[in-house]
């Protein structure tokens, strides 16, 4: 495997895949979901690039989905998070939580002021 580092945008995409994989996660819904939740503009090609990269790193798995007329008769490629991907997400979460808990209260208090 190339690198197993999980970038910020990759993490976002990976999380989104995990969120919507029941309804079928592929380029367009992933993009819309991120746009809705993060309130930021995401291009479709960036989502594709991230998905392909994640697949190469082994964080997601893909399988062929159905074709619709709206897609010009092309079949979808659906993604779902792999066990390895889930583990990576967990590690990222743990890292963040660990660091959150390590922030001294004083800083947090000041931040709230």
């Amino acid at each position: 495997m190339k690198g197993t580092y999980l970038g910020e945008f990759e993490e976002l995409v990976l999380l989104t895949v995990a969120v919507i994989q029941q309804d079928g996660a592929y380029g367009n819904p992933v993009m819309l979901e991120i746009e809705n939740r993060a309130k930021r503009n995401v291009s479709l090609s960036a989502v594709h690039a991230a998905l392909h990269r994640l697949e190469k790193k082994g964080f997601v798995e893909s399988y062929k989905g159905e074709a619709t007329a709206k897609r010009g008769g092309k079949s979808k490629r659906l993604y779902k998070i792999s066990a390895y991907g889930l583990k990576a997400l967990n590690e990222a979460k743990d890292l963040r939580e660990g660091m959150w808990s390590a922030i001294p209260n004083v800083v947090l208090d000041k931040g709230s002021l």
Binding site: S43, L44, A46, H48, A67, G72
Partner: protein, 871 residues
Amino acid sequence: MSNVPPKWIIRFLEWVCPEHLLDEIEGDLYEHYADVAERKSVSKAKRKAFGFVLLSTPRLLLNRKYHQSTATDMLKNYVIIAFRNIKRQLGYSLVNIFGLAVGLACCILIGLYVKHELSFDRFHTEVENVYRVDLTFRSAQGEKKTFMTPTALLPTLKREFDEVKHGVRVFDVGGFSPVILQHGNVKYQEPEFFFVDSAFFDVFSFKLLAGNPSKCLTEPRSVVLTEYSANKYFGDNDPMNQVIKVDGNDYTVTGVVENTPDNSHFQFDFLASFSSLRAAKQEIWSSANYATYIRLSSNKNVNSIKQTLNDKVKEALGEGQSMSLIFGFMPITDIHLRSDISDEMQPQNSITYIYIISVIGVLILLIACINYMNLATARSVERAREVGMRKVLGAVRKQVFVQFLGESAIVTALSIIVALIFVNIAMPAFNSLTGKVIVTEDLLNTSVLTGLLITFLFVSFVAGAYPALSLSSFSPGSMLKGNFTRSKTGNWMRQILVVFQFSISIFLIIGTLVVWKQLDYVKNKKLGYDKENVIILPTDGNVNKNFETIVTELTKRPDVAGVSIASESPVNIGGGYTLSVPGIIENPISVNAVAVDKRFVENMGIALLQGRHFNDADLKLVSKENREEREYAFIVNEEVLATLLIDEREKILGQKVNLNGRQGEIVGVIENFHSTSFHRKINPLVLMIEPSQYNMLFVRLDTDNLQKTLLAVEDEWKRIVPDRPFVFEFMDEEYDAMYRSEERLSNVFTVFAVLAIVIACLGLFGLVAFAVEKRNKEIGVRKVLGASVPSLFFLISKDFSKLVVIAFVISAPIAYWLMQEWLADFEYKTTVGVWPVAISIVCTLFIALLTISYQSIKAALLNPAETLRAE
């Protein structure tokens, strides 16, 4: 469906997108487009789609490259495997690449050299119409061909033949005695000074940088300089219309021409107008001193022109001549390599030499290719499993063949890169070896690069085809079962190739030794005169006038053994005359003759066999004002007697003879001495006294401190003849210069013989290593059973020594015969003899054994437990 992306975007996407991603990407784009068009607007959707394609394209293209088809996948695999093999067997790969690189470097250098040699004189426009007229004197004694023609030739040609468009006579005054040029305080002796007709620039295409090409050589006393000589005399000043002194006379500079290209057979520094010469006003046939070049309108009728010319000349000269003149036309492009004239105006090369060096280059490259073939097939065991696996997985023979051919192409490509580095490193050494000026930039033109490409393809194929064929022929079943054995034919083939390599090496060694031997013979043979410790100084009328003063002043010094003067140096006497001997022979005989002073014979250490030396009375008799009353004394060599069939020397003394109109009698006989190169027989030679012909002064030194003596002589010289620069040459160096082409051949032979044997041994080294590896177990068992180290060494060395001996048996007779042929070119020669042959085999065997010994001793010393432990 109305909301679909523009057609061109889809088509573009289909073009860039790899097959396996197309459905996903294209589908998503359709969907996205429809969404945006529905929620926002069609134009926004179009923009989005365009942006999508723009952003995705680079990534898709890269992806495509990665996974396209099996063909590129396999290609990638082949390259990876090739490099892995190079890395895994680094030692052998280095042997291969290094050997090939050395071979290629030789080839590239030789190629550049040959290319330059073949390019001589081709820079003239319509060069196929330019000829030089040569002249053959035919008489009862034989023929003599020269490039020198009479003054009457060119005017006759122009009058009689319309086809002769332009013509030019060239007089090499420097060939007789170098002229002295002076401008202000700058004064030099110039050997490359020529008088040429005004049509010079119509015949030749040298570029005139200043001056009018059709007029600059018309007026008497005009001179054209090359850039180089203009700079030498005038520095940064404009030389045009300046005055320069030529042997004391004022000449006007009327033009500046570019420096002579180094691939011109005719190298000049100065061109003066032919009209300055007295000879320009005469048309005579009787003396031939001028090279004649002509430009024809077309070269179709050369033969008929030649025929008509010779008929006309015969007519003009009348019948009853003992010697006939035959003119021929030599294309100017043939002069450098294909001329059969022994004394060219300036030294040229010979086509034989070009052939020899080209053949050597190809042989060296072949040796290097064979190394590759041998090592590649010897290592086939290691690749057998790979080939078997490939075949099982569906590779056909052609694919395996292509794979191995590709590997050899990779090795060749690496070798060429290394070779180019070697070429750059070896360039200065090569230039001094061959006397050429080849620079790195010469490599960068299309013909050289094409040549390199052809060499690359040729070597990849020659070196790669055999291993590829043999490796691809294995049957996968036996290979994978592990009981694969080397084929007998493969082994045979390798042995034949090793024999071939060593045959070439042995041939080159014998060649080298014979050339050395002959050169040694030439340099050490008794010449009949003493060429050591003599300096030669060119003279002019003024020096000749002061000759007696110079003799008296110089011989006062204890470190000067003698001074004399002559028309030519004894090293190479070329002046041709006819000698009539009434009462003994009917027709005159052709002889060489040289004008000398009374001390010459003694000073040169030439043995007087009979009669007397010249004396002052002889000088007085030939110096009479009235030509009719002059009486000459002649001293002849033994060869004259032999030609006249006279046995007793006394008989010739007092014999009345006539040498080209000089009446006189023979007063002495000298021993034959080598008055020309060893290529030619000693000619009949006549010595006479004739002060008007004196050209060269010889000072024999007898000193321990050469520098001091030379300085003293120079002081003396400057005092007596201040206008003449003290520029001298050593006689023994002049002698060595005659054999420069043999010297070069010997150097070239030496270098390439060494390279050939080094490359051959590199290959042998690799082969032995494999043979030993293969027989490791056998050696272990033998050792356990009590074999000694020497006997094991013998066991391994035997196989390879056998090959060297076979190579010797094949190549020694061929080399012997060929070198005999080469020696036949010399009139005076050594024999090939036993020694070169014996030395070659001993040398080769020794070097081969040395190469083998490292591996075989290592194997013989190995602890058998190590090799037998496995299994």
